[in-house]
Point group: C2
Chain length 315, copies 2
């Protein structure tokens, strides 16, 4: 049954992040249904009640966009981590009001009797990459986002990897040799503490550069600024080292990288690939391909919808 | 059908390592059949023909130990890596005469018409740990060996992870923050380059300690030597950091560590656990339990047999 010959089978996709929550209806081809998209603010200072109201608002308004004759077949939720899959609860680092908050139960109370699945946002973007992006047909894939933070998700042997708690894919908290920058997780030398947009900007400023944002850094790089160039190479080198570690551990075919800071300069990817190429003795490590994400900004929502539409990949 | 009520269903288990190749028959309960065990030397200076003769000798002599009435149901081969599962070939770092050597085909030519499966030795010890060791009933498990090198294997969501080439589990080549020791793989800061027995001994010697082996280091530690103590804590800390990275990436329940150097001092495990506990913000990371392997020295062979006897775990 396809959308051209039968009723639309729609999934309600929800993406919970550190600044906003979004909800939208997505059909079985990954199309967002017009008029169903809604967002509400979240943020580190929001109370638990405010966060719950934002989720309720976004979900209720998106559901109201269900076209006549369409069927809601499930709800997929992608959330910033950490999460606990067994209880359907979330504890996003940047939403301190929610610790072990039962997000799945909240959403279950807002929708008719359909399956509701919760996974890490990084797993969702990896599913989207596999479904409609750069990872189509790839059995062993890591999706990555390099932005304010660094996150990701894994598909191994053709199935998503969640782990017992649902937190597999935290590539931002894989350590990088030669670095010991303190990280918000309590560790040192984590990829996120080195290579995220804000941390790269902070490093460049410590070298004497005067810009303030990733956009400034991109402009400075384009204008030939020497510190900006070193900052981009440093970030890319660390990303490449972490990808090499991940490939040594789980043997990846492909890594697809998106997120705002991944576009800071094309040479970011050169530095990533050069760091991987240094593993000269291990053809299985150097074979991993690193490409730009082929997703639009809708990737997280399409991936949340894939938790239902592509449920066969999600054990 | 059990061994007490029917014919023995035996698997020929082969373990190829840097100093020797061993072969033995293993029944469906993980018992080694008396009289079937054989070994032959390998080593870095052996020619390809010498290595092939050693494998042929060990396999042929082990097969000759098949009891009357017993049935050979398959062959499981564990090999030092890297390997290439699709072609059944091996390129062990410490056996330079073999690069992409078709080991599975060699063994296929020595046995009757039964399945022959090849996997990384680290995956085999992890299977053994899950079958009869410390990982029984654990769905998300990493087996580790800390010895001359550092290796491992993964079981995630109840299935072994091989990766497209078969090299998943190379925890020894996951990087460790704050370290940049050069590694034989071409990288820097790899766990193996920091925490293996020989590398830990080398570090202690660079601090002025005069011993030469891991056994010497264990004795010095037991006698209260201050450098030995720092060396053990350094090794354990690095192992813990790498386990934290691995847990962040694949969300592990349990890590079971064996290998000669894992017994250097009980405090090695304290240092491992303390390094993991620093990930204070991530309950999913600090929850991973780290225990001693419960395998005997037969673990690699039992695990190779599990490639057939526990085939349902090996996609």
């Amino acid at each position: 049954m396809t959308s051209s010959t039968g009723p639309i089978r729609a999934v309600l996709a929800v993406d919970l992040g550190g600044t906003k929550v979004e909800a939208v209806l997505v059909d079985h081809r990954g199309n967002l249904l017009p008029g169903s998209r809604n967002r509400s603010p979240t943020g580190p200072t929001a109370t638990s009640e405010e966060l719950a109201r934002s989720v309720t608002s976004a979900v209720t308004l998106a559901l109201a966009g269900l076209p006549a004759g369409a069927t809601l077949v499930g709800v997929g939720i992608g959330s910033a981590g950490p999460i606990t899959v067994a209880s359907g609860s979330v504890s996003p680092l940047n939403l301190p009001a929610w610790r072990e908050f039962p997000l799945r139960d909240l959403v279950l109370g807002l929708v008719p009797d359909v399956p509701v699945r919760l996974r890490l946002d990084g797993l969702c973007i990896t599913l989207a990459e596999h479904w409609l992006g750069a990872g189509q047909g790839v059995g062993n894939l890591m999706g990555m986002v390099v932005s304010t933070g660094v996150g990701g998700g894994l598909i191994l042997d053709g199935r998503t990897v969640s782990g017992p708690t649902g937190n597999a894919g935290h590539i931002g908290h894989v350590e990088v040799g030669g670095f010991d920058d303190p990280c918000a997780c309590g560790g040192r030398g984590c990829l996120e503490a080195i290579a995220s947009g804000p941390r790269t900007v902070a490093w460049a400023r410590a070298q004497g550069w005067s810009g303030r944002t990733g956009e400034h850094l991109a402009a400075a790089y384009a204008a030939g600024d020497e510190i900006a160039e070193r900052a981009v190479r440093r970030s890319g080198g660390a990303i490449g080292q972490a990808i090499a570690s991940a490939t040594n551990l789980v043997d990846l075919d492909l890594v697809a990288i998106g997120g705002g800071f991944s576009h800071v300069a094309p040479e970011l990817f050169d530095a990533i690939r050069e760091a991987i190429a240094e593993r000269t003795e291990f053809a299985f490590a150097t074979k991993v391909r690193v490409v730009h994400s082929a997703l639009t900004a809708d990737g997280p929502l399409i991936g949340a919808a894939a938790l239902i539409h592509r449920a066969e990949l999600v054990p």
